[in-house]
Amino acid sequence: MKNTVALTTSHAASIIADEGSFRDRNNRVYRSDTRVLRGVSSEALRNWQDISQETFFRDLVAAGKVVVTDDVSSSVDAEHATLRTWEGVLAHQLIPFISYPYEWSFGMLKDAALLHLDIIEEAISNGWILKDCSAYNVQWANCKPIFIDIPSFERYAEGDPWRGYRQFCMMFLYPLMLKAYKGIDFGLLLRSNLEGIDPVFAAKLLGGPTRLRKGVFSHVHLHAKMQERAAKRELAEARRLTESAKGELSKSFRARHSLAMVLGTIQGLRRTVEKMRSPDEQTTWGNYDTDHSYSDASLEAKKRFVVKHASAAQREMVWDIGCNTGTFSRLCEPYAENVISIDGDAKSIDRLYHHERAREKSKLLPLIVNLSNVSPNQGWRGAERKALEKRGRPQLVLCLALIHHMVIAANIPMDEFVSWLHELGGDLIIEFVSATDDMSRMLLRNRVDQYQNYTVERFEELVAQKFTIVDSEELKGGHRKIYFLRHR
């Protein structure tokens, strides 16, 4: 990882305000293709100047836990009119691909939670704290979580509560508890609730004997009870106040929180999170890399084909969609700066994450995405969190043993699927799985066969309209065929 952030002052016009960065009025993120800048208020700039001198903060940056940041206020181009309205400008290390918590596996969210707790504990022992605790403040570099929201650091005054507690519970603790204690994948809940899971809702999901699991009674049920009590009190007050504008508001609840209270809570949460395990971890972990229907010879032929075309050029970004165990993602690794490994199966992605995390400098980023319903544009004005395809453009897409799932299982017309692959903008290595293949026959077993057009001839006809077929090879005795297609 670089220790300084390269900054050029050209391409002024290409800098645009990040549509997801607006909640903290003290700063805003601006992006171009090559860099990430952050306009900061005088208060946020002062905080940055102070914290960048702190040893603990420098250690966090050196360890790759906090994003590398430089003050570039003096070198900002005069053409950056918007940026010049801010008191200062910071430049951040570029994160290869922005991902969201609803695309992360259990292990990823757990590591992101532990990173947050690590940082808060270090900060608080040095007179600083994080003012919020959003899971969106964590991104991934080399399969390691990295904290990106520098203005979140603020001075800690002893006596203050940890204000990020509620957000930590909603965005990290409750989703992890749902998976660890109930086996429920949190992705869909986090995708529809961008603020996380509310304590009252979490209490309904984590009821019964689950109340006895570590941390559930205090962090979920007590929290929900307190929220409901406060809501009742405030509702009564609001009814009283609606009569006139002269009513007197009751004072907000204040209690002095000693350092021991805050540190004790954080350390308690750390023990709770560390002990949580995904129920998936206990199954089929020994079968790594054997989850396919190939003989050794056919698999080697497929690997050779992928390496032959992946190695033809050094690429910035490769997407492996339907990556399963990530075998083919790793084959592309020497020829790509970043490999985004996508699969709809949470278990496969969690397994891949643990595998990659153990490797030094892995270039893979495993993400859980259902490819027939990829992450959409959503949030405020439908722009706060971006659709998968809006966050990066792959130069090469691997689409191996996926098309039968899309066309037969998900009922996506083949021409639609080919068009979508073309819109991704990169060259394509794609494996066509014919209707006579055992895996396709399994998918067809309980369906009305309405897939007469699902033939290799029709497939070749469709791809030839949008790509140039450079190379192809039959696999599995002709039941499958792999292609290298050049985008045009």
Binding site: P199, S218, H223, T265
Partner: protein
Amino acid sequence: MRKIVETVSLSTILAFAMMSNAHAYIDPGSGSVLTTAIIGFFAAIAYTFRKYFYKLKNLITGRSTSGKRR
């Protein structure tokens, strides 16, 4: 009679309207501060106990107390 029904309906609608209006001003975070105070109270006892336990343990075993304990 019709007037009574109209009045009752109107008051009911108004009551519900005021209720939802009031709901919109509830700060869900205010219960969380109380929760951190209660959890923090017990956590502080455990934290202090652990701190002195390790200090005592290190004193007995002769180890340095500078190491981080969790």
